[in-house]
């Protein structure tokens, strides 16, 4: 029988994200905290904005200064000090065994909290912020950003990366000893995402009844490859009888996607839902006959992410077509739990969909294995147990 001591765990999210309660980070903490609670632990969560968390979690809002809301980045600098005062009071009252900080740009508060309390410091590291700003956004105050990241990774007792690839990249970039970095990929709540969800209501709502529905769920941004699906749409509809592409989500590339679809004369033949509340995502995925994720590389570097949607796809027990790159090579195995394709190839997407359509036996086989994987390897409970193991290891 598995026995572990009941822990008090303090989670701390420091990034400014407005009032958004949906998205990857929100899903991560909703799932992870629920798993910690299910395992009998006490949880507290401090954040700069609202969160939808399990009711058992003691939530604390630590807001950013209202004076600094018109210039990017700078608002984070004084937040290091103002949030520290508040988190110290929370820690004093809650008496955590350790704290789990979500890494954010220009933040070094984890090091300060550890210094002031002596608590073990676990740092959730989902990207090198310097790299992200340089390659995906705008990099201001680059040296300052690097110094902050160096402080946090130096002081963290354990660094939880979302993939092996990110572990390798982070260790090289900040000269972190590999033994203190633990890859723990994202996960899924297999009770919320499962194959028995009825998608009829959504099929009716969007006129998908009687069609072969090719689904894409997620943010419309560059590395998700959503524009590749848009480019493939006309060919998919020409090659696969009675098929329709169902885009679930929204984002910066929405305009580009719409332009491609209009150019190919298929805009009126596809459905784009726009942003869907997280609670509605399982029903939308259930309305699909197969799910596609043609992730592409991050610029010239290897793909380091582990998007939560991949685990949600797997938990739905649907056939999945996905790029096999970077970390995803560990998540998707060709013709075992998915149909993997080369990245950046419109033709590969079209051919894969056609093959799945024409081979129901293969579709069933990979769907069944995907669901089994989700239950055994990717549930949030598996991740919570792994984090507890890491804490127990560093405590020694």
């Amino acid at each position: 029988m598995e026995i572990h001591e009941k822990l008090n765990v303090l989670f701390w999210r420091v990034g400014f994200y407005g009032a958004l309660t949906e998205g990857g980070v929100a899903s991560l903490y909703r799932g992870l905290l629920d798993a910690f609670v299910q395992l009998g632990n006490q949880t507290a969560f401090a954040s700069s904005g609202p969160m939808n968390l399990p009711s058992e979690t003691d939530f604390h809002l630590i807001e950013y200064s209202k004076l600094l809301r018109n210039l990017p980045e700078i608002l984070t600098f004084p937040y290091n000090d103002s949030s520290l005062k508040k988190i110290l009071k929370i820690a004093e009252k809650f008496q955590p065994h350790f704290f789990y900080l979500h890494h954010h740009d220009f933040h070094y508060g984890g090091a300060k909290l550890k210094e002031k309390t002596g608590l073990p410091f676990l740092l959730h590291f989902d990207s090198i912020e310097y790299w992200v700003k340089k390659n995906w956004g705008k990099l201001y105050f680059g040296n300052l950003l690097k110094w902050c990241e160096k402080i946090e990774v130096a002081q963290a007792d354990a660094i939880i990366t979302i993939s092996d690839v990110l572990k390798k990249q982070a260790c090289e970039f900040y000269q972190i000893p590999p033994e203190k970095v633990y890859p723990v990929p994202n996960g899924v709540d297999t009770n919320i995402f499962h194959p028995n969800i009825d998608g009829k209501e959504i099929r009716k709502k969007y006129g998908l009844e009687g069609k072969f529905v090719v689904g894409y769920s997620g943010t419309f941004n560059a590395y998700h490859g959503v524009d590749l699906i848009a480019q493939a749409t006309k060919k998919i509809m020409d090659n696969t009888p009675n098929s329709i592409v169902f885009f679930i989500g929204d984002g910066a590339l929405r305009e580009k996607v719409e332009e491609i679809l209009k150019h190919d004369g298929v805009r009126n033949k596809v459905v784009i839902t726009g942003l869907v509340p997280y609670s509605e995502v399982p029903k939308h995925l259930a309305a699909c006959d197969l799910l596609v994720s043609p992730i592409i590389h991050n610029h010239k570097d290897e793909f380091f992410g582990t998007p939560i949607k991949h685990y949600e796809y797997k938990a739905m027990g649907k056939p999945i077509i996905a790029s096999s790159i970077g970390t995803l090579k560990d998540v998707f195995e060709h013709k075992v739990n998915s149909y993997t394709i080369e990245p950046n190839s419109v033709e590969a997407i079209v051919d894969a969909i056609n093959e799945i359509y024409n081979n129901p036996e293969l579709a069933n086989h990979i769907s069944h294995n995907a669901r089994r994987d989700a239950e055994l390897k990717h549930s949030w409970q598996v991740n919570a147990k792994r984090i507890i193991e890491i804490y127990q290891k560093i405590r020694k």
């Binding site: 407005g18 009032a19 958004l20 004076l67 809301r69 018109n70 600098f77 105050f141 300052l144």
Partner: protein, 135 residues
């Protein structure tokens, strides 16, 4: 009069319902927050809809950044009936007196304070980096 809702975040139906906006008579334009940092584009966009009721929609105004810049774009396009509205029913209406005598001076204070913060935190973080990484 027809309304234009520039949707920065949140749900247009919830926002409209919280402010008794008639969605039949309202065009919704999705706007990425990043676009707010492009003055020429923003001014051109708002000018395109001059004569309409202009709204910027958010989930909750309390957590919405760049509100003074939105007001500047409204001022530059002489859109004095513009507002920033949210799902909770809050409304940050453009008011010329408040804009000129409170929000613009406050923005200057923010610029000044930010400049001091940039200098201060460069010294502070450099020292912290030395302290925390010297071993």
């Amino acid at each position: 009069m027809k309304s234009i809702l520039f949707l920065l975040s949140g749900n247009a139906i919830k926002i409209a319902s919280a402010h008794n906006l008639d969605l039949q008579n309202c065009e919704i334009i999705k706007l990425d927050e990043k676009e707010l940092s492009k003055p020429i584009k923003m001014v051109a966009l708002i000018k395109q809809y001059s004569g309409f009721n202009i709204y910027f929609g958010t989930i909750e105004n309390r957590f919405q950044r760049f509100q003074t810049f939105i007001k500047i774009y409204l001022f530059l396009t002489l859109t004095f009936n513009g507002s920033i509205i949210d799902e909770c029913g809050n409304k940050n209406k453009f008011n010329i007196i408040k804009f000129l005598f409170f929000e613009i001076p406050l923005l200057f204070i923010e610029f000044l304070y930010s400049a001091i913060l940039v200098i201060y935190y460069h010294f502070k973080v450099y020292w912290l980096k030395w302290k925390y990484t010297k071993n």
